[in-house]
Chain length 320, copies 2
């Protein structure tokens, strides 16, 4: 467009095609990307002739707030949420597309920083943006689709009686960070950081698949809620032991600071840390980073904690 970029230039000033050009300059590639951004479609290779695919939409005011999270935080989280779904199939992401809608007065810098952080997070697993679309809208909306290879996709539906239940990654930190931010706090820093920039255990999904995991899901709505999805899909019940969970110190600190809340409610009710929960045959040798917390029983989707129905909040729902 021939205009000089400046820190406060809006996406309206740079224009749709200018924004796309500048975003595209930031994007890396790999042997999977046969044709990258810029054409009607990208062309992507697969390892075994098939691919796993998942999509997630992030909406300003619902999934993030621009006054709580930087553009880079939002880009990181948009990537993490999608890479986590591929991880939860036991797969490794190879490529992603992003559709981006925003008000015309959004600073161009916001969009560029968001995409740079998105691409950086994707690059940690070797994946890259291969295409996208841009539109104006009243709110910022980031819709991502992730593709990956999974040698043996692990669904939610394979849990067997007698399997152990285990998780990998962190539980409760993001929810604790959200609770802190909601009350105007900026600490505990580790919790606030986890809410802004979750760190999914990307190695744990493929490792679980290789170790014979029978069912797996990522924790995005909440541990009990998502384990409930797995239990219902597998037509089993699951019981977990509360003392088996690792309580992050920042969760205990925050729960105490908020007037003696139960720290376990963040671990069992909170989502968005993008931990994984999976079931394994009881004789399995679990991969590094996985912690056994329960077992699979006969039932129809029930999740109990120490043998009792869970009384806390079951997880996040939209339109609620």
């Amino acid at each position: 467009m021939g205009k000089v970029s400046s820190a406060d230039q809006t996406i309206a000033a740079v224009g749709e095609f200018g924004l796309i050009d500048r975003v595209t300059e930031q994007i890396g590639s790999s042997e999977y990307v046969l044709l990258g951004p810029g054409d009607d479609a990208a062309h992507v290779a697969t390892a075994d002739g098939t691919f796993v695919v998942s999509t997630d939409i992030l909406v300003e005011g619902r999934h993030f707030r621009r006054d709580w999270s930087s553009a880079a935080d939002v880009g990181h989280k948009a990537a993490a949420a999608n890479l986590s779904d591929i991880n939860a199939m036991g797969g490794v992401a190879t490529a992603l597309t992003m559709a981006f809608a925003a008000p015309a007065d959004l600073p161009e810098q916001w969009a560029l920083e968001m995409v740079a952080a998105f691409e950086a997070e994707c690059a940690t697993v070797g994946a890259h943006l291969v295409g996208g679309d841009v539109s104006s809208a009243d709110q910022v909306v980031i819709s991502v689709t992730a593709f990956g290879d999974a040698e043996r996709p692990v669904t939610r539906a394979g849990a067997q009686l007698g399997d152990v239940v285990a998780y990998a990654g962190t539980l409760g930190l993001s929810a604790a960070g959200y609770a802190a931010l909601s009350r105007g706090f900026r600490s505990p820093k580790v919790a606030v950081d986890a809410h802004r920039r979750p760190v999914p255990p990307y190695a744990a999904g493929p490792a679980a698949a290789a170790a014979g995991a029978t069912a797996m899901i990522d924790v995005s709505d909440g541990f009990v809620a998502d384990l409930g999805h797995l239990a219902r899909a597998s037509k089993v019940a699951v019981d977990v032991r509360s003392e088996a969970f690792v309580l992050p110190e920042a969760v205990e600190t925050l729960a105490s600071a908020l007037g003696g809340l139960d720290p376990l409610s963040f671990v069992l009710g909170g989502g968005e840390d993008f931990a994984l929960v999976a079931t394994f045959p009881s004789a399995s040798s679990l991969p590094e980073g996985w912690t056994v917390v329960g077992e699979v029983r006969e039932g129809a989707g029930e999740v109990t904690v120490d043998g009792e129905p869970y009384a806390g909040t079951p997880g996040h729902r939209h339109f609620a």
Copy 2:
């Protein structure tokens, strides 16, 4: 959710998971869909170990209006826009994902009718929804990603000096329909219908690839604008002859009714009919449905009409 559906029930009343369940019931399958909706990711087969992928976002008030288009019209168009991108690579779509965001008071019926029409349009080429995501938002946002097989993906960048330029499908009807609706008219019906429910020439893309097309793009922004993308990517100039285009009768009627507008401005400036424009070696025998309108010359992205720069509107831009 155990609730009785009624015509005026909102998506808030049925809930996120209720809406997903009801949408999923409408979805078909094929031999490409190894695992469909309902898990962390879908699992999709490819014909040759690779896939083409494209994404498009439709935003209420920008791409459609709920008072101009029915839910079914919007679903149809969301599918057509994405299937068209795969068509423009010379490919055939096999699977799609949809992320859907909407105000909580949106009638559930609107969402169900939109998805049903979307799936019906996809089924015309044998493709099906394999996954999605749902969120609340201030406006309706529909973000679609389409995957497909393309034996020989045809990019925008391969046009050669001396190639002929040809198009397939209809040009100008959607823009004429938009112009009619903008002025409060509901006719000419064929134009209004084309704006609400464009009919992309799905067979023409793979046929062009098989016939040796050197470059191809779909017309979504406007014929001259999109041909300009092709010319720039191919580092050539293109000249088209105005008398070679088929002027739809409804375009002539509408242009005349609006006070003697040039009907060619709808054909050359209008988008969203999802016609295809491609270049072919001049000795090619063009497939059925393709009309030669020009030729490739030496240049750097220029598009001329009858040897002159095009003076009309170059196509739609966001943030403009």
